[in-house]
């Protein structure tokens, strides 16, 4: 979706994540001490316990990047020039800090329903 390289893995975010995930999934056995190859934080999806999700309305966005900077998980991404931001549901915990901090109330929090 975005061409940024938030984890410094040298490729677009989703390409590198897919590569990493397939590498980790190929490890079938645990090691002593559960020592993991680097990238375990990427391959472990940690968004499953989110109760609320942010909706980036992309209506009044000024491109200030506050949402991106305050996200404790570093999972808000966007392009300030195009004034478009969004979140990564694989890691977002639904804390809502981005919605509280957005100076133009361009982010809503809604119930996560499946």
């Amino acid at each position: 979706m975005f061409a940024s390289d938030p984890y410094g893995v040298g490729a677009s975010r989703y390409e590198s994540e897919d590569a990493m995930t397939s590498k980790l999934l190929s490890v079938e056995k645990l090691s002593i001490g559960c020592v993991a190859p680097p990238g375990a934080s990427l391959s472990n999806k940690t968004g499953a316990w989110r109760a609320r999700r942010p909706i980036f309305k992309q209506k009044d966005c000024t491109g200030c990047r506050a949402c991106e900077m305050v996200c404790p998980e570093g999972c808000v991404f966007g392009d300030p020039k195009q004034k478009q931001f969004d979140f990564d549901p694989d890691y977002c915990k639904g804390c809502g800090i981005c919605a509280v901090e957005c100076p133009v109330q361009d982010i809503d929090m809604v119930m996560e329903e499946k």
Binding site: C34, A36, N44
Partner: protein
């Protein structure tokens, strides 16, 4: 092969014994009654007699964290603490065991607050009983020294790779001068060999230690700690036998049987109180009372099979604990009962909470417990021995 005995303070002797194991990193924060161990080590390092980095930290949490990090970086690491310090370390200790890092630490056993007490009981070590750290208990200074050598051997064994904690009773062992033979340097070097970490961080081959693990794998990670702990039972016995061969004196092992083979009444205890118990057992034996002691040297892993074998012929058992679980009863007492139940044995087991906050039980107290057990008294669930009821306030208003 007997070497030179010196009159040494327990904690200082342990400091020198640890130095002879050549740890590469020692991190510690002072706390009574542990302080003399690491004070001595810091002096040894400052004198240039031990090539180690002595890291002065801001707390026991820092001390344990430095040891975890040093061990993960491939160094042989050591720390020592007591009481509140051990509790402050506890979060790190669970990680150390889970990451399978063979750090060795000492606990100079001391009561936990509140009320505040600096004196000896075992509640500090028992509070971290379940974290996957191997726990050894020394009866005297000599054993406290020797158990440190064994601790490194067992911790670093590839079948184990777990932290090992040597328990020595605060003040009763740390501050008492006893004739002690320090482990000979050459023999210690030969016994331990040079240290090569199995699991270590390496910039050329990056890895993540202690990473988040999803529910589909986490349980297996925890089970491996349990399994390694159980495997260490055999390793401890092997290492103890080898220790005896190399150093010419017996130390370590799972438990010690003292006149218990034909005993009708068996006492079970751990730590320095066992010295007193042995004297009282001798006295009672002279009077024809068939009593013996089984001393727990390895408390985690719990030596279930060896214990069952040692006590199965008894008519009654009394467990003497310097601890307990508030709101339940004893800690070790139910652990003694469990294998008996599993083996279909209905031997009465009485539990006695003794020495909390350092109130010593003298020979007359031990004798009272022996006499009560031997008289066929009904099993005691878990008794706070010689509780001074006259000190207690009126907790419940009279109706």
């Amino acid at each position: 092969m007997a070497g030179k005995q010196e009159i040494l303070e327990g904690a200082m002797a342990v400091g020198h014994a640890v130095a002879r194991c050549r740890p590469e990193v020692v991190a510690a924060y002072p706390i009574t009654p542990q302080t003399h161990i690491t004070e001595e080590l810091s002096q040894i390092v400052a004198d240039g007699d031990l090539d180690a980095e002595f890291v002065k930290v801001e707390s026991e949490f820092g001390a344990a964290s430095v040891c975890l990090g040093a061990s993960a970086a491939g160094a042989r690491a050591y720390t020592a603490t007591s009481s509140q310090g051990l509790i402050l370390m506890s979060e790190v200790l669970w990680n150390m065991a889970g990451m399978r890092l063979p750090v060795v630490l000492a606990c100079a056993n001391r009561s936990l607050s509140a009320p505040l007490s600096i004196w000896c009981d075992h509640q500090d070590a028992e509070a971290i009983r379940d974290c996957g750290i191997i726990q050894l208990y020394a009866e005297d200074s000599q054993e406290a020294c020797d158990m440190h050598v064994l601790a490194f051997k067992v911790a670093e064994d590839r079948r184990v790779l777990l932290p090992v904690m040597v328990n020595l009773d605060g003040f009763l062992l740390t501050h008492v001068f006893e004739p002690t033979e320090l482990p000979d340097q050459e023999l210690t070097d030969a016994f331990l060999g040079s240290y090569e970490a199995v699991l270590k961080l390496d910039v050329d081959n990056p890895a993540t230690f202690g990473a988040f693990t999803e529910p589909d794998k986490c349980m297996e990670g925890r089970w491996m700690v349990h399994d390694a702990c159980l495997r260490s039972l055999e390793v401890i016995q092997e290492a103890s036998a080898e220790f005896e061969k190399v150093f010419g004196r017996a130390s370590g092992g799972l438990l010690e049987k003292y006149k218990s083979d034909d005993a009708e009444t068996i006492l079970i205890a751990k730590g320095s109180i066992c010295g007193t118990i042995k004297d009282v057992v001798d006295q009672a034996r002279d009077e024809g009372v068939k009593v013996g002691l089984v001393r727990i040297k390895t408390y985690r892993p719990f030596p279930t099979r060896a214990l069952l074998e040692a006590v199965k012929g008894a008519k009654q058992i009394a467990v003497l604990e310097k601890g307990g679980s508030f709101g339940a009863g004893g800690v070790m007492t139910p652990e003694v009962k469990e294998p008996l139940y599993d083996a279909g044995l209905q031997i009465p087991v009485s539990g006695f909470c003794i020495c909390l906050g350092g109130r010593e039980v003298h020979p007359d107290g031990i004798r009272e417990i022996i006499d009560r057990a031997s008289s066929g008294e009904k099993q005691t669930a878990y008794e706070y021995f010689r509780l001074k009821k006259e000190l207690l306030p009126d907790l419940v208003p009279e109706a």
